[in-house]
């Protein structure tokens, strides 16, 4: 015990600390071997304790530093604080559903964030987050969709003052149910005080979500193992929705946010997986609406290189940021536009006629200059002709413009 100090036998002559440390380290194994009986006892106790601790850890809620995901797992379900009446069910024979997709940039609006917009901002204030979310909610209420696909939604991130944006948007719009699939869940990022982050894709719906699937997409192949471990784990969020119409088939919503900065074919693999899921749903006779931020331009776009537009003031004149040059990727969406069963909300012919009204993205922080289309809506049902809108007026609310369109699911599947 602690009365050793009073025992004269144990009082040692002063020595320099360094030799003491050296002796201790050098002699430690000998100590153990000398006192083998105590060592055995200690090991027994230690083993027992270790087993207890292991069991406790296993059953406790200790989270890993970086959350990894199964290939397919459930998404996180949400429900609005108060359920809003879904509204008048459309008359028989005219079953339409309004769908909207939006990369909301975690509610940062056009604040010059340090990674994606040549900025220096890292952590938003709660007031800034609220202002951003209020702008998003106002636009969503104005468009009034039945189903909303969201990308870059934060639920527990220091950069957005730990506001659960899925819950907040449910509680401040007419949407009732939600599902969330995280793509970047880390307890602490020691880079410019980023700290904790949890962001991902979400689907909000007026109607009950019956089933959810978070489908893991291929990780980037152009990164080291360490970087890949801490990098975003992009996913497809697939949900089955209970639409109160007399539909002969199940109705699914599929939301994707594909790789933004990969320099290999990772994004192509992710897009192929997206198409594979849509084909599978169609083969199973289900209705679907799908979309999101593909981080890819449509085939035959007028411009394929955005190095000049994306360059930051501090970059060299000939510098091109990763993800700014699409020249080698121009055919990666062909199967989404040439497929017989996949119908884009914005018809390809209309896009080819004039690209600019359909642009949904720009990284610049000032000036109204959307410069490419990265966001999409697709379905295996028919879209109501002329119902699609690319809401380019929402420039101040995110670095992506939302797209909305109305789906006529009364049309038979070809």
């Amino acid at each position: 015990m602690n009365d050793n100090h009073s025992n004269p036998e144990l009082i040692y002559r002063p020595r320099w600390i360094v030799p003491i440390i050296r002796d201790a380290i050098k002699n430690y194994p000998i100590i153990v071997l000398k006192d083998i009986r105590n060592f055995k006892n200690a090991m027994r106790i230690f083993t027992f304790t270790a087993l207890c601790l292991f069991s406790f850890t296993f059953f406790s809620s200790c989270d890993p530093l970086v959350t990894t995901f199964e290939d397919v797992e459930d998404a996180v379900m949400y429900k609005a604080a108060s359920i809003t009446e879904p509204g008048v069910v459309p008359p028989e024979g005219f079953d339409v559903i309004k769908v909207m997709t939006w990369n909301i940039r975690f509610g940062a609006a056009r604040i010059p964030w340090y990674i994606d917009s040549c900025g220096d901002r890292v952590l938003l204030t709660k007031k800034e987050v609220m202002t951003g979310l209020e702008g998003l909610a106002e636009k969503i209420k104005q468009v009034n969709p039945d189903i909303l696909l969201l990308q870059e939604v934060d639920v527990e991130s220091k950069r957005t003052a730990y506001v659960d944006e899925v819950q907040w948007l449910l509680d401040h719009t007419d949407m009732n149910y939600g599902a969330f699939a995280s793509m970047h869940q880390i307890q602490f990022i020691p880079s410019d005080g980023m700290g904790r982050i949890d962001q991902g894709n979400a689907i909000l719906s007026r109607w009950k979500i019956l089933e959810t699937e978070r489908i893991q997409l291929p990780l980037r192949g152009d990164q080291s193992a360490l970087t890949q471990y801490f990098w975003v784990r992009r996913n497809i969020l697939k949900v089955k929705i209970n639409i109160p119409l007399s539909l002969p088939r199940d109705f699914y919503v599929v939301n994707i946010h594909a790789a933004a900065f990969s320099t290999d074919d990772t994004k192509r693999q992710q897009i192929d997986k997206f198409i594979e899921i849509l084909d599978e749903l169609d083969d199973n006779g289900a209705y679907y609406v799908a979309g999101g931020d593909l981080n890819e331009i449509p085939p035959s776009s007028d411009s394929t290189n955005f190095c000049d537009e994306d360059r930051c003031p501090e970059d060299a004149d000939d510098f091109c940021r990763d993800g700014s040059d699409f020249y080698a990727e121009t055919d990666w969406l062909n199967d989404l536009y040439n497929g017989y069963t996949i119908h884009p909300a914005v018809p390809w012919s209309e896009y080819l006629e004039d690209n600019s009204p359909h642009f949904t993205h720009s990284v610049v922080t000032t000036g109204y200059s959307w410069n490419r289309k990265l966001d999409y809506l697709f379905s295996n049902s028919e879209w109501v002709a002329g119902s699609h809108i690319t809401h380019q007026d929402a420039f101040d609310l995110s670095d992506h413009a939302p797209i909305s369109a109305t789906l006529n699911i009364d049309q038979p599947i070809p």
């Binding site: 100090h5 809620s61 200790c62 220091k158 990022i189 880079s191 005080g193 904790r196």
Partner: protein, 269 residues
């Protein structure tokens, strides 16, 4: 400061803070070190017995960046309990300012600069000068032959010369509640230690601690540790164990289970 040195400073800070409060041998109890005895560990503060009634302690490595000093004073025993009070003064501003940076320019972590613990966001004002004073009472009693029980309770106060932005919190176990006093103005701590002699040379220390930040959004932190202590003799020992932390953070509550390890040396004159 060069990146390598910065990394060492940060690692040391996190290690030292993570082990803080892991005081035993004499300092976790109301017992005062005998006059002339020195004790220190890899992660423990240096403790010195000045007289039979007064013991000083300081984290020598940390003190370059986070000046700190603590004094433990023995008081008359009552009802068989040893009684002491401990008073600590900490000035964390230099270290917190040093931890506030973008990173070291080493992009190995998700292609971002590694090393920025506190954000350098331009809308966050400079970390102000801050000082905290912690006052703690310790009561120790020997129960039977093999067990030593210590109860402790204290209150901390902090003063600062400017606004401390809430975005500068380090939302990690052990660190977050200990820095909470600077955001909240005051904090309360309560705890108990049980030291058991298992064999001639082996002891087991089990403790519980609570840190409370009354009035804050994150009020409660509970910590428990279990430590096996192998005493070679009164001048050297090895400590291995775990620390379990349950706490409220700005994002909610969370459990953490952390490993503990230390080596301690003592010198008696």
């Amino acid at each position: 400061m060069k990146p390598g040195k910065r990394i060492i400073v940060i690692c040391l800070f996190l290690l030292l803070v993570s082990i803080a409060g892991n005081n035993n041998w004499s300092s976790g109890t109301a017992t005062i070190l005998p006059k002339g005895r020195w004790e220190m560990g890899l992660f423990q503060p240096l403790r010195v017995g000045q007289t039979e009634r007064i013991e000083w302690s300081i984290h020598p490595i940390l003190s370059f960046q986070i000046p700190n000093i603590s004094v433990k004073i023995a008081h008359p025993r009552f009802n068989g309990w040893e009684f002491a009070t401990r008073h600590s003064l900490i000035y964390p501003t230099p270290l917190l300012r040093r931890l506030r940076l973008k990173g070291f320019g080493i992009s190995t972590l998700a292609e971002m600069d590694v090393g920025g613990i506190i954000s350098n966001d331009p809308t966050i004002s400079q970390i102000p000068h801050m000082v905290s004073l912690k006052n703690e009472a310790l009561l120790t009693k020997k129960i039977g032959v093999k067990t030593l029980l210590t109860g402790k309770g204290g209150i901390s106060f902090a003063i600062k010369n400017g606004k401390l932005d809430s975005r500068t919190t380090i939302d990690l176990p052990i660190v977050f509640p200990r820095l909470g006093v600077y955001y909240n103005g005051y904090a309360v701590n309560l705890g108990a230690d049980l030291l058991q002699q298992l064999t001639k040379k082996l002891q087991f220390l089990s403790d519980v601690d609570m840190i409370l930040l009354p009035g804050a959004d994150e009020v409660f932190t509970f910590e428990h540790k279990g430590l096996f202590i192998w005493n070679k003799h009164s001048d050297f020992r090895i400590l291995v164990g775990y620390k379990l932390v349950y706490g409220e953070y700005p994002f909610g509550t969370q459990w953490h289970l952390l490993p503990l390890f230390d080596l301690e040396w003592g010198i008696s004159k």
